[in-house]
């Protein structure tokens, strides 16, 4: 058996624990047993997503630039092998297998109740054994082409990217995760290997198993399949953004019934990464500004300016950070005006102590409740790991943030003169 370093991580506050393993292959493995669960949920992920369009490997002098959508394309192709593809192998075990690509990660996953060991073998094996040929690349262009067309017809998806394009001038967060029919036509087997060899090294990856799992079973399979390779040094291009937004207003037309809007506030950042503290503070700010108890939300609803499609989120990652409010409204200008006025008012007057405590208490409850679903936990573990934290960190941060901090964060990160409004209008109006 290979020597691996195993550490138990405990959160007394949450009543949760997991094991963190520095596997000899260089892979960080997290095994998170949950009592009384029949099923397991397992993720093998790499810190590689749609925003990684330019990178340098080891001593490369120049940045390698790759076609938009290649991380997602690679995700599709990795399921194939020279003999039997991964889906066919999973068909024999009954596992429910899938994968996804986001802005900054690609994850391969399965859930199962039986045959854990066999499923682990399939997952660890196919992700570490790429097989790409020009022929199979071509076949996939048809399938992904249809996936792209499907998302092009999704107005909410289009809205998100249009507001990102309005806010960001250079950062690749504004490009569609799957790319375009045109951009994926430039993908070749060689390029896929180049990306694979850069980002699918075990030091850039993480493994997480939650539920009906145990350390011995995981290690038994990992020791057999995972092989240590030479270390690689990846340098991601940091797309430095100018202060301020690219465009204050953009509009387009689609087959929708009423105008859709997204109002994005771009944070001017000097360093690429945000801390868990900044994340928690921003999530509380969103609740305080436009949550169901807020003055703003209830007035907008009561005055007929928004409907149940209204939502808000804090979107952040390597080199980007923004608050986005979106919804459906004939009077999107008025909605934008009121959101900005409320931000200005709160910045000026400060957030009330009672409101802050109520929202903190609510976030605490929601956090506790998120520790039921093994898929939520596994995805949370992976996201936290890539952010350099433990999934238990959120609860600690939440209990220690102060009113002064949240007021500071609001004043320093959300500026009403640094925002973009994107509107999608019904076609032909």
């Amino acid at each position: 058996m290979t020597v691996s370093n195993i550490k138990e991580v405990v959160s007394e506050r949450l009543g949760e624990r997991y094991f963190e393993i520095e596997h000899d292959s260089g892979l960080k493995m997290i095994v998170y047993p949950k009592e009384n669960y029949a099923s397991s949920y397992v993720i093998f992920g790499t810190r590689y997503g749609s925003i990684d369009t330019a990178f340098r490997l080891n001593d490369d002098r120049e940045f390698t630039c790759v076609p938009e959508g290649i991380a997602h394309f690679l995700e599709h192709k990795l399921f194939e092998s020279e003999e039997i593809d991964a889906f066919d192998r999973y068909s024999k075990t009954g596992a429910n297998a899938n994968a996804y690509t986001s802005f900054d990660r690609t994850c391969y996953l399965f859930s199962c109740t039986g045959k854990l060991k066999e499923n682990l073998e399939i997952l660890l094996d196919f992700v570490t054994h790429p097989y790409f040929t020009e022929q199979t690349v071509q076949k996939e262009q048809g399938i992904i082409g249809q996936e792209i067309k499907m998302t092009q017809d999704d107005p909410n998806w289009a809205l998100l990217f249009s507001v990102l394009q309005a806010m960001y001038k250079y950062h690749p967060v504004q490009i569609e995760i799957a790319g375009t029919v045109e951009s994926i036509s430039h993908i070749t087997a060689d390029l896929l290997y180049k990306c694979y060899n850069t980002f699918y090294n075990l030091e850039n990856m993480v493994f997480c198993a939650v539920g009906n799992v145990d350390v011995d079973t995981v290690l038994e399979v990992a020791d057999r399949i995972l092989v240590r390779k030479d270390k690689v040094r990846i340098e991601r291009k940091f797309f430095e953004e100018p202060d301020g937004v690219n465009k204050a207003y953009v509009e387009s037309e689609m087959a929708v019934t009423a105008p859709l809007f997204a109002l994005g506030f771009k944070e001017n950042i000097r360093t690429p990464e945000r801390t868990t503290r900044e994340l928690i503070l921003s999530q509380c700010i969103i609740e305080l500004l436009s949550g169901k108890t807020s003055k703003l939300y209830n007035e907008l609803l009561g005055d007929g300016l928004i409907n149940s499609n209204f939502s808000s989120e804090y979107l952040f990652g390597y080199g980007y950070s923004s608050l986005i409010f979106s919804g459906e409204s004939e009077k999107y200008d008025e909605v934008a005006k009121r959101i900005k006025a409320e931000i200005d008012r709160l910045s000026r007057e400060g957030i009330a102590a009672d409101d802050f405590e109520r929202v903190r208490r609510m976030q605490y409850g929601r956090l506790i409740m998120s520790f039921n679903d093994i898929d939520d936990i596994a995805n949370g573990v992976v996201a936290s790991y890539f952010a350099g934290e433990s999934i238990f960190e959120d609860a600690e941060v939440l209990s220690s943030i102060t009113l002064d901090e949240i007021n500071d964060r609001l004043r320093s990160s959300v500026h009403t003169d640094c925002c973009s409004l994107s509107v999608i209008k019904p076609k032909g109006e």
């Binding site: 009543g15 949950k34 009592e35 009384n36 669960y37 029949a38 099923s39 066919d88 999973y90 068909s91 024999k92 075990t93 009954g94 596992a95 429910n96 297998a97 859930s111 199962c112 109740t113 039986g114 996939e140 048809g142 399938i143 992904i144 249809q146 996936e147 067309k149 499907m150 092009q152 017809d153 999704d154 107005p155 909410n156 087959a255 929708v256 019934t257 009423a258 949550g291 169901k292 108890t293 003055k295 209830n298 609803l301 007929g304 409907n307 149940s308 499609n309 459906e328 109520r358 929202v359 208490r361 609510m362 409850g365 929601r366 506790i368 409740m369 520790f371 039921n372 679903d373 076609k427």
Partner: protein, 427 residues
Amino acid sequence: MKINPKVVEISPALRSVFVEGGSFKTSIITASLLVPKGKNLGELLVLPKYLTYSTKKYPTPAELNSRLEYLYGAVLDGVVTRFGENSLIQLEMTCIDNKYSLDGEDVGQACLELLLDALFEPDAEGGSLDSDKYELQKRLAVENIESAVNDKRRYAFTRMLEIMCADEVMGITREETIDAIKQSTAVSAYSAWRELLKDARVQFNFVGSFNADRATALIKERFSQIEREPVENETLFVESAEDVTEVTETMDINQSKLVLGFRSGMTHRKDDIYAEQMMVDIFGGGIYSRLFKNVREKLSLCYYCSASLMREKGLVIVQSGIEYSNRQQALDEILNQLEIMKNGGFTDEEFEASKTAICDALSGALDTPDGIDAFLSNKIVEDDIMPIEESIKKYQALTREDVIRAAKRITLDTVYTLAGKEDDDGE
């Protein structure tokens, strides 16, 4: 997780079901009310949101939501879903388990009282709901239905059902629904609320640490003021299609949608249900299915092509997103795959893969409070709650012949195409 539901029959068609939450950190309480669809159509689509927007005790949404946030971010929601040709109205409360409350408050009990208030003590006076708030919820309900067009897959699915079931309750159209909502008033909705409490088959689910006696007593007390006359919940099953209806509509979109509606041959919701489910799964369920492997992987015609069984109405629906120029090829291949199912041309590997996947999924279906709640809600029309292990045994006992028999009963009823306008140039 293994569960052992405790069922308490309170009165005819009224019961509560308790499942201990084990190590869950979340508790769920759901009030499910099932009534035939059609009567009070518009009112019932607005009521669940109205009832959970404010209550007599917390007459503004800010007050109600403040209370929920104070209860550690408890979530109260009201929804209506289709259950065959009936409407399932559900008020759902999700909250943290008591052991995580910081000050020892009985969160579960407080949330149950809040849920019962929402159902029995709405914001109403003198035989009418609050008219401003009702008008607001009417607007939201109408806009919600209108904006469903933005989801083309869902829209095409709904259009197909409207066409296929034009003479059945299932086929009530979006326009008819919107009209019914617009015509409803705060007064008619008040009556609809009273009738709902009188007519519905009702089940309360409790997942988590609850005192069954105390909770049941509270429910009993609230219902003691209602003269209950539960009505039957029925759904028309059309055994087979007489001929095929083909409808093509256009929209300014990039990808065309092809939706096929079949009559499964089922005559009631339990009719050969295990064989039906598995047949549909091999045909177009998982990644091992005939449609995924042939229409998507082999012919590269689409990103998705899948089949599902609407068990409560006995329909099989195939959905796919395609280039319009590939429509005929996709249609031919889908029907070809169905013929293969009928002739027993599926492989032993596919048969075993489906059986393994279904049983594996069922074994893990009760691992979350939501999963348990959904499992129990689906049993609302059944007298006994059959353990999930029994279902697994039924699937395990199925043979290839069972699947072929189920496939042979299927008939094609409707082919619906939502065509992208500029697809003809083969782009």
